[in-house]
């Protein structure tokens, strides 16, 4: 049994997170489910820039200025940094409610609804909140078992509620939400600049070279130019358009989701309660506000067994969890003390929700399955000590 060799297999929280995200580098990287288009984006950017550095830059550095390739390199590095930051970070995922919290909310809802006659549909679960003299409706998420905060939305691709949900972008392979919106915007902005830059200098290069050796010879000497111009031409329209659209959204402090749904478009005369009524203030809030931390704690260690003597990394985790003696053991095999005292209205919906979270499969996990290991080490530790 290979499990005997693993005496200190540590289960990190990302392995047990519900939702359909992919995790890499032991929880440091978090992406959406489908990554094919993201690889295409990477390929297009890296490929086009490589062609530019290989074909155009040597000529331009000599005939015009060496600053041209230097600036191109800086721009390229910035674009890649922003792309990776957008794709690999937590967009602002809201963790699902643990069973006790879900029960508490259910009881509150039932108390608010009063008695529903048999046969009648229960009223929709909506909370009204007044923000800045506007009534905003908070909807209940049946998957995450929470009332969604304002501006949050549930992404069906990633199966998570995301705070300040903008949209799910297949090009970056991740949701765009509160935490990574500014990186996404800077990515589109810098990519527009890079595309325009490469396109412009391609033209300049072709013109300069054609003057010397003729157009056809130029194309023969630098065949990459044709490809670059094609890619840049099509990219230009879409990326510049997207940057312009997001600049418009930022100046109004709106999300793509709200824009598409027409939440503040005046049909109901409800104005955007989050806008500061000043373009500069809105831009500052969206782009320069403090960087919000991730509330997921992907790399925290899960306490596998409460009673057995814990190894050093679990004791480090216990300083995180010291305020909660009955920690997130909903996913391990330890008996759940709070559940024995939970009010008897354990709804089947909530029970099945817990079931779902324990068995959610992950696509790109390390080969060793973690669910049996979460149980096995507890057993192995007992016998080896």
């Amino acid at each position: 049994m290979s499990a005997v060799m693993i005496t200190r297999k540590v289960t990190r929280k990302w392995e047990k997170l519900p939702g359909k995200n992919t995790f890499c580098c032991d929880g440091r990287v978090m992406m959406g489910r489908q990554k094919g288009v993201f690889y295409l984006t990477l390929f297009l950017i890296v490929g086009t820039c490589s062609l530019f550095f290989a074909f155009e830059c040597p000529y331009l550095a000599v005939h015009l200025s060496p600053a041209i390739p230097v600036f191109a390199v800086l721009l390229f590095v910035f674009v890649m940094a922003m792309l990776l930051r957008t794709s690999f970070s937590d967009p602002g995922v809201l963790p699902r409610a643990l069973p006790e919290e879900a029960n508490f909310i259910e009881m509150e809802i039932e108390a608010a609804n009063g008695n529903v006659m048999a046969g009648q549909r229960p009223p929709p679960r909506i909370k009204n909140v007044q923000i800045n003299n506007q009534i905003v409706k908070l909807k209940y998420c049946y998957t995450c078992k929470i009332f969604r905060p304002p501006r949050a939305s549930h992404c069906s691709i990633c199966d998570n509620c995301v705070d300040r949900f903008d949209h799910h972008c297949p090009w970056v392979g991740n949701c765009v939400g509160k935490r990574n919106y500014r990186y996404f915007y800077l990515f589109t902005l810098s990519l527009s600049l890079l595309t325009i830059y490469i396109f412009a200098f391609n033209i300049v290069h072709v013109v300069l070279r054609s003057v010397d050796s003729g157009f056809v010879n130029t194309i023969k000497e630098t065949p990459g130019t044709v490809l670059e111009v094609l890619v840049c031409f099509f990219t230009l329209w879409s990326v510049v358009g997207l940057t312009g659209f997001h600049t418009y959204l930022i100046s109004l402090n709106q999300t793509t989701n709200e824009d598409i749904k027409g939440s503040w478009s005046g049909k109901n005369r409800v104005q955007n309660p989050y806008s500061h009524k000043s373009i500069i203030k809105n831009c500052c809030e969206v782009l320069c506000s403090p960087t919000y931390p991730s509330v997921l704690d992907r790399r925290g260690v899960m306490l596998e067994d409460l009673s057995s003597p814990t190894p050093s990394d679990a004791s480090a985790a216990s300083t995180h969890q010291s305020s909660n003696p009955v920690s997130q053991t909903t996913k391990s095999s330890a008996p759940l003390i709070p559940n024995e005292h939970t009010p008897d209205e354990a709804k089947p919906g909530i029970g099945s929700g817990t079931q779902k979270s324990t068995s959610s499969p992950k696509e790109e996990k390390p080969p060793s399955p973690t669910s049996p290991n979460a149980v096995a080490p507890a057993v192995i530790k007992e016998s080896s000590h």
Binding site: M82, E100, E101, I146, C284, E285, T291, D297, S322, V326
Partner: protein, 143 residues
């Protein structure tokens, strides 16, 4: 009598119930919790004390999310370095979160644990709720 309920003792105590203090969205999307006193805590703790704790937490979160010269400076500096500066530096928000964790630990030790209550740091619940665990008061024998 207060010594029967230290933080260590509470680990062995049985949980009677949990109360969840929800977010207050009246000021927008900033992190703020309702100061409304939950009915379940009436027999355990002073209303004023509870409100003071929540209000201090709200003030700390407001400090973390404040839009001002400092946050703009941090944002611009980070942007210029393509956000690589955050690999070595802690963000302002993270610094305040540490302050909050210390404050909650302190409140638990001094005020809540002796009364058989325990506050959970909201960051562990996704900044959605302040979870208060109410323990059974077995030693004193009063409920």
């Amino acid at each position: 009598m207060a010594e029967t309920h230290s933080l260590q003792d509470l680990r062995q105590a049985a949980v009677a119930s949990k109360v969840f203090v929800q977010r207050d969205y009246s000021s927008g999307t900033i992190c703020k919790f309702q100061t409304k006193f939950p009915a379940e805590l009436e027999s355990r703790i002073d209303k004023q004390q509870f409100e003071e704790t929540v209000q201090t937490l709200n003030n700390l979160y407001a400090e973390a999310e404040k839009l001002g010269g400092r946050s703009y400076l941090e944002g611009c500096l980070a942007c210029l370095t393509a956000y690589t500066i955050f690999l070595c530096m802690e963000t302002h928000y993270e610094k305040v979160l540490k302050k909050i964790a210390k404050y909650i630990q302190e409140q638990n030790e001094k005020i809540y644990a002796p009364l058989g209550l325990l506050l959970t740091d909201p960051i562990e619940r996704g900044l959605r709720v302040v979870e208060i665990i109410i323990f059974e008061d077995r030693s004193i024998g009063s409920r």
